[in-house]
């Protein structure tokens, strides 16, 4: 499917802001075009279902999270048309969630492979995935303090847990 068709498909179905970032890649200057669609939360799941219409087994890469101050932006990176020469496209669905209501529907029922990524975002930034059954820690230790999120840029960041080794280096110099 062409990039334009995906963009039009997303635009006609949902109220969203679509950006196509293109870049001539490599020595043959093959154009790599990444689609970023910034959607409303209520449309997100339908948009994933729409991507399934394009690609039977949608390839899910990962969820990125960006702290925008009052909001947390989640970026779901998908790829479509994989397995074909020069055809693969990255489609990123972005959803902004207000920090006082960090909730979004889980997509693990559509894509079982998204389990680890949802568990990671749950523990790193504190997003609640509705429908995600397994919410145990995956990358953080089991005794990690509750309500502390290392990838957020606000008061929930565990400042006191930083291992400030440079302080000891300074101390070492003074002793000498």
């Amino acid at each position: 499917m062409k990039v334009e068709d995906i963009v039009n498909g997303l635009k006609s179905r949902f109220e969203c802001d679509v950006k196509v970032q293109s870049r001539a890649c490599g020595t043959k200057k093959i154009e790599k075009r990444d689609i970023y669609a910034r959607l409303r939360r209520e449309d997100f799941r339908k948009a994933v279902e729409y991507l399934f219409e394009i690609q039977e087994y949608l390839h899910f890469s990962v969820i990125s999270a960006t702290d925008l101050g009052n909001d947390m932006e989640l970026l779901y990176h998908f790829t479509v048309d994989y397995g074909k020469r020069n055809e693969e496209k990255v489609v990123t669905l972005c959803v902004s969630l207000p920090k006082d209501d960090l909730k979004i529907e889980s997509i693990t029922d559509l894509i079982p492979g998204a389990l680890i990524s949802e568990r990671e975002i749950h523990e790193m930034v504190g997003v609640e995935f509705i429908g995600l059954k397994d919410t145990r820690h995956f990358f953080l230790p089991e005794d990690w303090p509750e309500g502390k999120y290392p990838w957020r840029r606000d008061e929930t960041f565990p400042e006191d847990m930083l291992n400030k080794l440079y302080e000891t280096w300074k101390g070492g110099d003074e002793n000498e």
């Binding site: 953080l140 990690w144 290392p150 565990p158 847990m161 930083l162 291992n163 400030k164 080794l165 280096w169």
Partner: protein
């Protein structure tokens, strides 16, 4: 030196390797030290699968929060006299990972370290050199303990 080594060579050295959250760079160099090019096994250096059999602990990595207790337990499980070698810059000083929220290291904050091998990762020759140093130290420890 020769006489000393001959005396030290009365027993082969068994080594246990612990990864406390390393990137694996040091770990593959430790394995490389055992394979035909460097062949540490010709000196009787043997990698064992449990700390209970080991004379030397080779520790890599900057010690993550999850590995702290496990590393302490492994240290306690190793019979005395023992020597601990910290392999790699991040295990020696925290290296590129210092200041992270999930580190409790470097290694000498968690268990006592006898020999430091800096390098990211150190070359297999450096690791073998450290094991030889551990050997000499082990001999001294045995001597102090009154063992023959």
């Amino acid at each position: 030196m020769c006489a000393k080594l001959t005396k030290a060579l009365d027993k082969s050295l068994w080594v246990f390797h612990v990864n406390s959250g390393s990137c694996n760079g040091c770990d593959i160099e430790i394995l490389a030290a055992l394979t035909p090019r460097y062949d540490a096994e010709r000196f009787g250096v043997h990698l064992v699968g449990t700390p209970r059999h080991a004379d030397v602990l080779l520790v890599t990595g900057p010690v993550t929060r999850d590995m702290e207790e496990k590393l302490k337990r492994i240290y306690e499980m190793t019979p005395d006299p023992k020597v601990v070698i910290a392999v790699g810059t991040c295990g020696v000083s925290g290296g590129v990972f210092h200041e992270s929220y999930n580190l409790v290291g470097p290694i000498d904050r968690v268990i006592p370290v006898d020999i430091y091998v800096p390098g990211c990762p150190p070359r297999p020759e450096a690791i073998i050199d450290a094991v030889v140093k551990a050997w000499l130290k082990l001999e001294r420890l045995r001597g102090e303990g009154g063992e023959q």
